[in-house]
Amino acid sequence: MTQRMKRTRSQHDFVPLADDSLIICRCEEITQGEIRKAVYDGMSTMNEVKRYLRAGMGLCQGQTCSHLVQNIIAGELGVPPGEVETHLSRSPVRPIQMIELAQDGGEK
């Protein structure tokens, strides 16, 4: 079930934090500050933040950073982390070379 959310804008300016330069998504080198700013700009779910910044879109597909991203989004929105749904996982679990994948099925 998707949580109902009203996407009202904050009346305040974005407030940077001292540790905003921390790298959260190592594959795509996305910082805490970038994630916080994305939430400020309206990105309010794991999928939206990912699609906006590429956090969790790299080689490991979020296997390393997704809980960290989830916590930051929850903190910015002021909700418990469990209320922020994790982003979707999809096949393949590990990267597969095209030449290998191409050998599965088909006519030959």
């Binding site: 998707t2 804008r9 939206e48 906006y52 096949s91 597969i96 070379q97 095209m98 191409a102 599965d104």
Partner: protein, 373 residues
């Protein structure tokens, strides 16, 4: 009961674009989205911003967006939507394929599009990575691609900054009428009132329109796509094939995004969720490597799927519903709604505000579907 000038149903690229162009004109907008922003086809598509091989009815919509909106869109919205206008190559391996290309070239040229057939050498001059099996291609230099996820979210972000209200996780069930005119909508949780409702909910637009007696003949088709890891920069063109077995491009990030068809897609349309099937990614990879052997070592990191809302005659349904004053449709994009989304946003906003859409939407009237005899 809350009053809004316009209620938009659906927070995909179409709903968000309409919300932006309306907000720019100080119209008070409410967007209701069942899941999250860009949950549907808008975050799942191949990013093609293409005029070549478009239906002649739809071509003016694509040409308008490419001439007038896409080039300045990133600046306008304040987000880099990764628009890249380096042309589209549609590749041919056989004489049959060339015939398919020639038909599309004739249609495009008669509509004033710069589109031509080029031979093997010219193809390889433009894109040295194509296999020797490619004997010709059509080339349209003004085609290109963008990043659909960013485009959708950029329209959303800018509309929100301009005051548009968005509610996600709330599902619209029906359009409400009073004395035959639109008076609002009913969701699973609330009632909202407005005498203007724009329906941009993809395939689900059909059941919602049904609640006021309007039916749009469309089918839901499941199609799949995949993405590679980051690769060295190879070529900037949008790629398609006359055989329609795959399409794709290299993104600004360096990964390649490809989509493709096994031919069995229409028979998976009962799926309720966009699932991927075991045969498809392999089929797409085989098709790609038949044209681009040079990327055989690239890794696939993710596969996904999405639904198309395909109209009986494969062009969108757009504009006012005269039988239901206050209802405007923007759906049935039939697999090519991303490239034209800026035109649609602008035209539907103009239609709602001024009764005039700018570009003509006459060919897309909901009442065009007639029985054969």
């Amino acid at each position: 009961m809350k009053n809004k000038d316009v209620i938009i149903i659906g927070g995909g690229v179409i709903g968000c674009a309409i919300a932006y162009y309306l907000s720019k004109q100080h119209v008070k907008v409410l967007v209701l989205e069942k899941e999250e922003i860009g949950a549907g086809g808008s975050s799942r598509n191949g990013g093609g911003v293409r005029q070549s091989a478009r239906d002649p009815r739809e071509l003016p919509l694509a040409m308008h967006a490419i001439r007038n909106i896409w080039p300045g869109l990133s600046d306008e919205l304040g987000v880099d939507v990764e628009y890249c206008q380096k042309g589209n190559l549609r590749l041919a391996k056989t004489e049959e394929h060339i015939k398919i290309l020639e038909r599309a070239i004739n249609q495009g040229c008669s509509a004033g599009l710069d589109l031509k057939l080029i031979d093997q050498k010219e193809v390889r001059d433009i894109c040295p990575y194509v296999s020797e099996d490619v004997i010709a291609a059509s080339f349209c230099p003004t085609d290109g691609h963008g990043n659909p996820m960013l485009t959708t979210l950029a329209y959303y972000k800018r509309a929100r900054e301009l005051g548009a209200e968005f509610i996600t996780g709330e599902s619209v069930i029906s359009v409400l009428l009073q004395k035959g005119n639109v008076s609002g909508i009913q969701t699973d949780l609330n009632t909202y009132s407005s005498d203007q409702v724009v329906l941009a909910a993809g395939f689900d637009s059909r059941t919602i329109a049904n609640t006021v007696g309007i039916d749009i003949p469309m089918q839901k088709i499941l199609v799949e796509a995949l993405v590679t890891d980051q690769q060295p920069r190879m070529f900037p063109q949008m790629i398609g094939t006359a055989a329609a077995d795959f399409y794709g491009h290299q993104t600004k990030h360096g990964s390649f995004v490809f989509g493709g068809m096994t031919g069995l897609e229409p028979f998976a349309s009962e799926e309720t969720e966009p699932v991927t099937r075991s045969i498809t990614a392999s089929s797409i990879c085989r098709a790609i490597l038949g044209y681009f052997p040079a990327i055989s070592q690239a890794n696939i990191v993710r596969t996904w799927s999405g639904f198309l809302d395909v109209a009986a005659d494969k062009v969108p349904v757009l504009g006012r519903v005269e039988e239901v004053p206050g209802l405007t449709l923007a759906c049935a994009f039939s697999g090519h709604g991303y490239g034209i989304s800026p035109t649609i946003g602008e035209a539907i906003a103009a239609l709602v505000v001024d009764e005039k859409s700018g570009v003509s939407l006459d060919a897309f009237h909901y009442d065009r579907f007639k029985p054969k005899a």
